[in-house]
Each structure stands twice: as C-alpha cells, then as structure tokens.
Symmetry: C2
C-alpha cells in the first residue's frame, strides 16, 4: 500500500497468507480481514491449530506420511493389511487414495520422482527405505501408484529394477476412462488403453 493504514502485524499476516497455495496477494488480504472480524470463531482457533501442528506434526519414519505420531496412524493400524504397500510420490497422493477407500493397505511416500534434469536422483527419494522394508520381509504386494507421467513411470521402472530379487508381486494402477469422463475430451493414449483393457458387461 502507498501509505501505512494499519500496523505491521496485519501486513505480515497478509504477506504470509499470500504464500499459502490457493491464496494470492488479493485473496490473502480478504482472508486476513475475514479472520480479524471472526477472531473468536476463526483467527484464534486457527492460530492454535497451526501452532499445535507446528509443534507436533512430523513425517512418519516408516512410510513418510505426515502425522503427529511416529509410526503414523496408518503404520500402527492393526486392521490394515501391512503386507501390501502402496508406493506414492507425495503425501497428497496418499490422502487422495485414502479418500477413494478402495484398499486397506500400508503406504510408502517417495517424496518425489526421479528427475535428472532437476538434479533429483535415487538418493533424494525414499527408495532405499522401500527396499529395506521389502527386504525385512512380510511384504506380499507393492502397488506402485505414481503419477502417469514420464517421470513417474521412470521412477516406477527404477524401483522395479531395485526389487528384482525379491519374491513380491508388483502392480500398477489401471489406465482407462475416468468415471464421469467424456470420451470426446480424452487423449488418444487413454482411449487406446481403455480399449485394450476393456472388460465384459
């Protein structure tokens, strides 16, 4: 702003909020003002929740999930089939797959994909930890649920190479038409995969 209209505390709050994904400089200002107006209902509780998350949340040393306990809620859940590990790039992928609620398994977060151009090598990802988990035994299946991108598939093949000696079933997600998707808007690769993997009514 051209002149000071308010104290530095609010400006600082706006600047930090503008760095939250989904908010820009303009919406950060709107959000800050809304919070200040709803101090009791929003600003106070949110400050407390953030402070608690900042103090207590970390990454699970086994699977890489973000949680307040280590091992995390998933790794220490006795009702989950810990012999099946779903390998994902990011914690957000783990959460997305959990929302689908299709599989009651354990996870392993890689923390990214191999990308030589960006200087991301195998040692930057949690691949050796995955090999350790498999070699420790008790793992029946590894579902490699990386993104269907070139980097994701390269990473998948690298992991499969590393695990060649182990007696473990390695699977991947099916390709096909998204539920609710319109054929007209889909790319040829997806349509070809959906035709090849067609199923009977």
């Amino acid at each position: 702003m051209a002149k000071k209209v308010t104290g530095p505390e609010i400006e600082r709050l706006i600047q930090l909020l503008a760095r939250v994904p989904g908010l820009g400089p303009r919406s950060a200002r709107r959000a800050a003002l809304h919070m200040i107006k709803k101090k009791e209902q929003l600003l106070g509780p949110l400050a407390a929740a953030m402070s608690e998350a900042n103090d207590r949340v970390g990454l699970c040393s086994t699977c890489g999930n973000a949680d307040t306990s280590d091992p995390c809620t998933i790794c220490s859940d006795p009702t989950r089939d810990q012999s099946v590990i779903i390998v994902v790039e990011d914690v957000s992928d783990l959460w997305a797959l959990e929302r689908a609620a299709a599989m009651n398994a354990a996870y392993h977060v890689l923390g990214g994909t191999l990308s030589p151009l960006d200087g991301v090598g195998p040692e930057d990802l949690a691949i050796s930890q995955l090999v350790d988990r498999v070699s420790a035994g008790g793992v029946r299946e590894l579902l490699i649920a990386v993104n269907a991108t070139v980097e994701g598939q390269t990473t998948a093949h690298y992991i499969i190479d590393q695990l060649g000696d182990f007696d473990v079933r390695i699977t991947r997600l099916a390709h096909g038409v998204p539920v609710g998707g319109e054929l007209d808007y889909l790319d040829e690769g997806t349509l070809a995969a959906a035709i090849r993997s067609r199923t009977s009514f």
Copy 2:
C-alpha cells in the same frame, strides 16, 4: 476420509482452513500439507503471526479500521488531512481506496449498509458515531464512498439526512467507465452516467 490416516490435529487444521474465504475443503487440504512441509518457512511464522494478530488487533474506536493501535495508524497520522472523512461500508473498502492512494484523508467504517429486510437498521451501523465526529467540529468534507448498490445509496441518503444541520461539504464518488474497461461490456446506466459527466480533452 473413510479411515483415519492421520492425527486429529491435522484434520482440525484442514477444517479451520476450509472456512477461510478463498479456500475450500480441497484447497484447504493442499494448503495444510504445503504448510506442514514448509514448517520453518511458513507454518511456524504463520502460526505466530496469527497468534499475534489475535492478541493485538482490534477495531479503531474512532473510525472502525482494523489495527493493533487505538486510535489506529490512519487516525493518529498527523500528515493526513483529518478534516476530510471518507465514509465506507467495510474495512476492505478502506484498504481498497488506500491502494488507489488518491486522497490523504481520514475514514469512517460504517460496518455495512441499511437493509430493513435483513434487519439491519441505523443503530446497527456506526452512523451515530459519524454524526458525533462531525458535530465535534473540524470536519470540512465527507466523501460518502459506499458501494453503488441500492443498499449503499439508501444508506448514503440516510446519512445525508442526519447531517443536514451541519456546515460540511458532502460528496460522492464519480460514476463512469472503469479505467481499462470496454464500452461493449458496460451497462446502460454506467454509460449514461459517463456521457452526462463527460469532460474536455
């Protein structure tokens, strides 16, 4: 989520973030995850900034601006012309006008507009406080910068009625074509106002 994948602290953070304007349930989850990954740079500082804002920010008892000091930065600024008061509906309007940096004046935040259907009467707005400020003397001009809506204009006329006895110049914002605006997309009322208020090159 169908099953618990993480502690209640993160779920609570996501739920609170989803109530911030500009974020929905999905982007709140993404924002929370981003913050957890950037604890040092974002989550910690943001928690501290919110906590400080929660402790220290209030509304100025003179003009209604949100600030950490009372009277606020604007009301206690000796370089501003405190004899000109810009009357706005909301703090966000005050901030918007300050970004334009067109006038070095004081403000008065009404806190809304008259709206009998919603049960908002004159006693719910800071109108009597405005009359008090004017009757205390030293006010030369009142720029009523409410929104160009029916409620805004009704409120403006009510305020003008209340101030009929005072020797103060009452002005309003000009109507016209927005800078950068295309005539084709403007409504007839705006175009008619722009023609009536045309100026010489």
